[in-house]
Symmetry: C2
Subunit: 294 residues, 2 copies
Amino acid sequence: MLPELKIQQLRYVITVVDEGGFNAAAKRVHRTQPALSMAVRELEQRLGQDIFERGGKSQLTPFGQFCLPRFRELLGQHDRVVKDVVGQADGRQGHVHIATVPSVASRIMPPLLADFIERFPDLTISLHDENAHYVCQMVAQGEVDLGITSLWQSDDDLDYTHLFEDKVGVVCHRSHPLASRSSIDWQSLQGEKLIRNGTSRLLMGTEASELVENSAFYISNMISLIAMLEAGAGVTTLPQLAFPEHNANLCFIPLQEPDVVRRIGLVKASNRTLAPAAQIMEGFLLERLKDEPE
Amino acid sequence: MLPELKIQQLRYVITVVDEGGFNAAAKRVHRTQPALSMAVRELEQRLGQDIFERGGKSQLTPFGQFCLPRFRELLGQHDRVVKDVVGQADGRQGHVHIATVPSVASRIMPPLLADFIERFPDLTISLHDENAHYVCQMVAQGEVDLGITSLWQSDDDLDYTHLFEDKVGVVCHRSHPLASRSSIDWQSLQGEKLIRNGTSRLLMGTEASELVENSAFYISNMISLIAMLEAGAGVTTLPQLAFPEHNANLCFIPLQEPDVVRRIGLVKASNRTLAPAAQIMEGFLLERLKDEPE
DNA sequence: CCACCCCATAAGGATTACTTATCTTTCAAT
DNA sequence: ATTGAAAGATAAGTAATCCTTATGGGGTGG
């Protein structure tokens, strides 16, 4: 019932006004003069009123004067929307939400993100750190675009791309008898006071699982765990990345037998398309982290 | 360089979202489902990003979620502009500026405009009263859309349509010797103290012109003129419409010889198209005033 | 497993948009 | 006046677009 304006017609009208004539306007929009004449006429017919004075020099009718500011405003908003949308579409602008496990957040991401924001200065980033389970949950629920974590469990809603492996080792005080060893097997740990933590599940299903089952302590908080170890109150196992790199009192000894690794990968929702900015981030992370063990 | 959105595509996208699917949306916009599929796909290709999730149930991608509110806003403004513009185009809405000589403004226009605003309640009107010369000038300069006046002088910029004639007569105090006459010729006025006014030029070029030339008084203000006449200070000539209808002290005697009339007509700018609302007004005035002497 | 619903794809036709070529008007210069 | 240049209108042919009918494929629920 109501007619529908075409953005192009509006642009033609406005250009004719601004350039002062159909010929000049035609050049400006890279069309021929008849194209504009006909397009404008078609618009006039649909509205039932002339926009330009018939005889003479492309002057606006009163009706045209009424229309012009509205056309300008509409066209202005159109162009603004296009700019925003294509900026978003080609990944120049946007915001990426990432969730990772704490060790990755603190050891891997900082230099990586510093490079990223230099290469894509108009993209902004949020980085959450959560445990592996909650990272997957955030990705699945769409709270974040991407997760970097070990896979909690296979999940049809999640799309996992392996990035690198993280060796599990034993962490103890440097005065501990085991501290001088360059590698350890699980039997050597029998009799040690083993403190479990959130990553201990990695040992389940290996020869070392009974160590975990017999452990009486569980500490989830990393700060508390470190403090316990620094007090010489026991030993624990950690993936290497989760071991505080520059700690002067603790040492990390790779576990040889069994050879346990934490598989770290990029996780995204399988049933959802990534936002353009997140696609950029995905490519960047794959390029920088794929098969690089640290 | 930047792509150009089409209003219709935006409407399709929004309808698909609101209706929850392509089929339902197609019904709503009276198109077939493939038409929407293809139109949306074409938009997606031009933006380089999908708006709807590919597999599944017409869900928005994150990019689509980004676009949607902007599309809605743009479409909303479009529809608003269309509504305004067509309302203006078909004369439902608008404002008409009219200028008339004072006699027409006070004697002709009031009942006429009362009818008009009843028939066209969404149209608003400005009515200026000025002397004949200035009415023409306002029309020529575009300050008003229409003028109702006698033509000051033939003017190529003005388009004159005759409406009716207004007989000139002599106005004097009812106690004046001439007051009982039913008509007067110019000789009868010789020796009378004639007060000139703005309409006296109507007598120029007739046998009565020497009366005007010999007149010593000129009063432009109608109130002052009436006061002078009521004081019995002389006589004057006025078109009948300019004579205050219900004045108890003055009387109007038609001038027979010469038979002078003021030609009243509708004036508009010849080189400009009337605004739609003004076209409505023009038609109304012609219908109501054409050849009706009062 | 089948039927159904929904969207995607393909092919053909109708409409719309644009181009080149030509005409008309206007304004100005001589 | 006559002519020339410039601007817009018109006409016809072509390219692009939009939409339709017909059909294919992938899920979901009975």
